[in-house]
């Protein structure tokens, strides 16, 4: 069990009780593993990632993350520092006026000094190929640039696991190729929500499909 970063057992969740979105999901993620999470629109992929980091609380089932069962909001603080979630819509994620501040937001929250946070931000921006973007104003970036900045803001926290909600969403072919290159070079374990199968197939080794509230391996 200790090799498992995440272990979800029999997770049930519904936004309203009559229509369960997740209806008994079992899932495990081991160190260094890359998994593609597929499924039709509205099948609950985003919901599942949000359950994993405690943004949504399942009505039943257990979430074991990094060796401990996580139940309440307090339990998940540590999980969120270790598992970086890239949101489906970058505008939800980027809220600081400038790129540098946004990327440094996580490290500062983790208690790093300003100098350390700045360095972490610079490193993360370099990692996604956006060196020197620090002083740019977030809301004036293009959609693809926002995507990369959002990824940098996740990487800056140096998580062990990346949970990526449609990372190539809205990127052109070049930007997509670059992002896939960046992701391929990262050592972290990943869960990637993917619609464009072939591109992400190269990245991931395992593929699970969410269907009718259950996960098919």
């Amino acid at each position: 069990m200790s090799a498992h970063l995440f272990q979800l057992r029999d997770i049930r969740f519904g936004y309203d009780p009559d229509h369960p979105v997740l209806d008994g999901v079992d899932f495990a993620l081991t160190t260094g593993e890359r998994v593609a999470l597929c499924g039709a629109n509205g099948s609950g992929k985003t919901t599942l990632l949000h359950v994993m980091v405690g943004l949504l609380t399942p009505s039943s089932g257990s979430v074991v993350a990094f060796g401990r069962e996580r139940r309440c909001e307090g339990d998940f603080h540590e999980v969120r520092a270790q598992a970086g979630l890239l949101f489906q819509d970058s505008d939800d994620q980027l809220f600081c006026p400038t790129v540098a501040e946004d990327v440094a937001f996580g490290p500062l929250n983790l208690g790093q000094s300003r100098a350390e946070a700045r360095r972490a931000a610079d490193d993360a921006l370099a990692q996604v190929g956006l060196d020197g973007f620090g002083h740019r104003v977030t809301h004036k970036l293009s959609g693809g640039q926002k995507r990369l900045v959002a990824l940098a803001s996740v990487l800056a926290m140096r998580p062990q696991v990346l949970l990526l909600d449609e990372p190539t969403n809205g990127l052109d072919r070049d930007a997509r190729a670059r992002l896939l290159g960046v992701l391929a070079s990262l050592p972290q374990a990943m869960v990637v929500i993917a619609h464009d199968d072939d591109a992400l197939a190269a990245l991931t080794r395992r593929r699970v499909i969410l269907e009718a509230g259950r996960l098919l391996g």
């Binding site: 949000h50 980091v53 943004l55 603080h77 969120r80 520092a81 970086g84 979630l85 949101f87 819509d89 505008d91 939800d92 994620q93 809220f95 600081c96 006026p97 400038t98 540098a100 501040e101 440094a104 937001f105 996580g106 500062l108 929250n109 983790l110 300003r114 946070a117 700045r118 931000a121 002083h135 740019r136 104003v137 977030t138 809301h139 803001s153 996740v154 926290m157």
Partner: protein, 250 residues
């Protein structure tokens, strides 16, 4: 905080100041001017403000237009003062006597508002919002207040774009504003969507912030130190304000 400038444009002298100096200067100037009562001192204040505008390289035409817009707004008050304040009649209009006191008072108000407005435009109008927010935080304003201010700046834009997108979507399907029930209902839907959308977005932003370890405390990244330029500017500013006070008393 540096802002992006197209190549070939150099920063104006004011833009090189620490934003804090600019906020403090604007505040001190406004307080000083509001205090002044003599025409001589206020004329001097106007000259100072004009000097600041030149230093900030404000575009003359649009600045003038802005100042005039505000003065125009005050015109009614200004125009009625001479006739209501009493004092020795200076001239009569349509049988009403314009009193000297009121005329004097109107002139002073005009000078005061122009000076404060021009100085504020020069000192703060050229500052981008994030820089202004940070300057306020560094000056000791509660970080929560500043965060609220910065959020507002950031998401007004998102909201505006959401609105523009929805409007575009409506127009693309042949919607034209008319005085019809259908039109009002559609606009109602538009604003309803905007409200629901922002509420849900605020929830997602909160989630995203918690994902990055947010615990209710805000940390600021930038560290500005006032440089020699700032101290020099502060000294000149203090001297000017003293001169203003002397002029006013004298």
């Amino acid at each position: 905080m540096s802002s992006v400038l197209p190549l070939g444009i150099t920063l104006s002298p004011l833009a090189r100041l620490d934003p804090r100096s600019r906020v403090l200067a604007a505040f001190a100037f406004a307080v000083g001017v509001v205090w002044c009562q003599s025409v001589a001192a206020l004329t001097f204040a106007c000259a100072l403000a004009a000097g600041l505008a030149v230093l900030a390289r404000l575009p003359p035409l649009s600045t003038l237009r802005r100042v005039l817009a505000v003065e125009g707004f005050m015109l009614l008050t200004l125009a009625s003062l001479p006739f209501t304040m009493g004092g020795e009649p200076v001239f009569t209009l349509l049988g009403f006597a314009a009193g000297g006191d009121g005329l004097h008072r109107a002139g002073i108000l005009l000078l005061k508002s122009s000076a404060v407005l021009l100085a504020t435009l020069a000192l703060l109008g050229t500052l981008d919002m994030p820089a202004l927010g940070h300057a306020l935080a560094r000056l000791g304003l509660p970080v929560r207040f500043v965060a609220l201010f910065l959020f507002t700046v950031r998401y007004i834009d998102v909201l505006h774009r959401e609105y523009a997108r929805l409007r575009l979507a409506m127009r693309a399907r042949g919607f034209r504003p008319r005085a019809s029930l259908h039109c009002w209902r559609s606009l109602g839907h538009l604003f309803g969507m905007l409200l629901v959308g922002s509420l849900e977005r605020s929830e997602r932003i909160d989630a995203a912030m918690r994902c990055r370890g947010f615990d209710g405390r805000f940390h600021l990244l930038d560290e500005h130190r006032p440089g020699r330029l700032d101290w020099g500017f502060g000294a000149v500013q203090t001297a000017s304000l003293l001169l203003l006070a002397v002029l006013d008393v004298w």
